[in-house]
Assembly symmetry: D2
Homo-oligomer: 247 residues x 4
């Protein structure tokens, strides 16, 4: 990859939001994609390269601190001297919708691992880099976290994921208050609706209305907008939902 002053980093680079965000940010920066397996990030890497951008995929489980450490060491080798312009935490590992008394402790542990611990490690690694980039970056360095309906609402049968996403929101809000005044923009996007990913093709939402699922490209446009907001007008939290979604 050619030397570049700045790069973008996306954790959770699957075929939907991750790929769309990678494509959008790759218009400006080389992008590094973290995923739990090479097959997860492959579509994003291929798409970026096909569009003429630069992409590196790295296998790393966001909730494994050693794996995250190793990923950052590899980034330092592959992109020597590059500063981090934007970091997106989009890791997602699914969740069980079931009666509370049928949840196993592992359901909770898994949701918290991806939703909270993973963001904690990711933020501890990226925030120092984002702080370092602040004086010279073209836009305020940005940490964007992908939230969900369960970030705002603990619905019946969503106990485990609600614990994780509420927790993620609280963590993100605290980071925004601490790092905003130091020039780093921390934003939380509450994706309140089903996303039109390849995996959701067969799932009918909002009665099958056109645009009743959120287009990944629309999410990506919003993330890019958050990244390019002037520092006199940072958004900490915004919701994104299909025009027909009940809320």
């Amino acid at each position: 990859m050619p030397s570049s002053a700045f790069y973008a980093l996306i954790a959770g680079a699957g075929a939907g939001t991750g790929t769309a965000v990678a494509l959008r940010f790759a218009q400006a920066y080389p992008v590094v994609l973290l995923a739990r397996s090479a097959s997860s990030y492959a579509p994003a890497v291929d798409a970026v390269r096909a569009a003429g951008g630069a992409a590196i995929g790295i296998v790393a489980d966001a909730s494994d601190p050693a794996a995250v450490d190793a990923a950052f060491e590899r980034i330092a080798r592959e992109l020597p001297g590059a500063r981090l312009a934007a970091a997106v935490y989009n890791a997602f590992a699914g969740f069980a919708v079931k009666p509370f008394l049928e949840l196993r402790p592992e359901d909770l542990t898994t949701n918290l691992a991806t939703g909270v611990h993973g963001l904690f490690f990711f933020a501890q690694k990226t925030l120092p880099q984002l702080l370092a980039a602040a004086p010279t970056a073209p836009h305020p360095p940005t940490l964007i976290v992908t939230g969900a309906t369960a970030s705002l609402r603990g619905s019946a049968r969503f106990a485990s994921i609600a614990a994780a996403k509420f927790g993620q929101r609280g963590l993100t809000q605290s980071l925004a208050r601490e790092f905003g005044p130091r020039g780093v923009h921390v934003a939380y996007a509450i994706v309140d609706g089903g996303i039109d990913t390849p995996g959701a093709k067969g799932v009918v939402m909002n009665n099958g209305v056109e645009d009743g699922k959120i287009r990944p490209e629309a999410i990506a446009d919003n993330y890019w907008h958050l990244h390019t907001q002037h520092r006199s007008a940072f958004t900490q939290e915004l919701d994104l939902r299909p025009f027909v979604e009940k809320f």
Copy 2:
């Protein structure tokens, strides 16, 4: 003004946010500016024309239904056949920060007139036009309302304005739920900080930190972003605040 298929309408077209929003939307549409006096909208009209755009100023108090009616009749005459692409409710008439027991009934009446009644009249006039524009408009027709810190928080000594801005938020949220599924995007922008208007030049905020006041152009960029969001990913509410603002 030359014939044009679509236009934008801004109520509350003062020298700060109103002018910046007018300039931004005038890059795409002729803009119509409503203000309580010609001297209020003059800077916006002049700025748009100087930038090569088209602008019409109309004197109308947003909280006076007869004046609002007359304004819309004039728009129909001046822009025959034009459809409404975006309407921005930015009317503001100041407010008193003082102990509750010193507030006069007129303080409350004035705040509700601008914050709630005016939005009610404006929305009743613009929503039918926005609905009519939906099938052919380049972006989902949009109603954007300017909120404030007092929309979310009833601080001590802010009783009257909190009543008005909370009320405005409730009204806007209801409109979003009713008109979103019909293709009209209703969004509320919570401007949580002082704006760097000409009138605020002498007011020190956030210890005078550069960008410690919100740039009107930054608000305008966010309003344009809201207007151009894809309908599969509408934002209903977002906050905007300086990076150094306490919240």
Copy 3:
């Protein structure tokens, strides 16, 4: 009425919540009931007297400042020297659930009159009395306001009442922040469900489940609890809903 050191005042003294609250507070204080007509407060007055308590009914429209003034003058004559221990703002004038474009300006005006203006007048009259009672009252003097689902959520077709109840919540919150430190407890009770009033007998809610409507006596118990909270642990806001209510 015999002389008494303290009294309670209830605005909006209809056959449901108003009567139940009157009965509960009449166990400790003489109660004064304000309503728009004598027929509204009559059941409450009769019920209190039948239970051995003392009650005065006064005709006053809470949104008419002259009527409110006259009511307080009459209270001063009838209860000379009595201090105000608790004031409950429970005024309610119904509301229209209909498409926004079918609402008339009068719908909004009516909802704001009862929800916001009336509370404003009531609070300006009662807060000085509550402050005066603070040093000697058996419990922290209390202003309790009755909220509703529409205080928290602007649903489609609820635009007018959402504007009023959101506004009421903002006003109450501001009063809590200003008067709490002066020893007056200002609380907002969000009644999130249908109330089992005489007028609602024929209305089926929650599939007719027993206790699927809120018992007025249960609301009254909560208001009394709020009134008797120790000042080291004031509640500003609580929700009340039937166990089977969706929320």
Copy 4:
């Protein structure tokens, strides 16, 4: 301990809130106290017995499922046939207020263990018992969880505890929606202020104003009130703060 039809269970039975809640509920039920060490629950057990009540202390770390299992086995042996009327989750293990980049992974793990995992285990053990008690209990069986300022607000330097307390709130809210319709009352009390515990004697809060710290007995009165609410008017969430607290 004599046989009794119902009992109350308190996890986190320290010298402040835990002891006060134990004393309050012991007026109606034998109480079982869980704490990480016998020295933690000893003051509560002693206080209850001195007041003429019945109390059992059991050592159990709420975040250790095996210890929780063992505790419930012991309860079954010591109180054969007794049904659970009320369960209070008040476990607390302190937290670090420090810059995010100085937090260690263990800080987060510890906060989540007590705030989220422990509540998860406790709820899985107690909810079946509360459901079983519903048909015959004198009041709706109740699960009350102690929240904090950090449940609502992610302040700078509070990242780890905000993650845990937000998560706890989301979990509790989900349980309320699932178990309320089955007759079990799940409530979250947001304790928004310093508590006047023995350990806080030397800590000045609110400028040392009398009642500027929350009295544990006042918290206990509120928990008892929540427990005795009629099921037609359950509170899901309430805040408790000193009258002089800034919020």
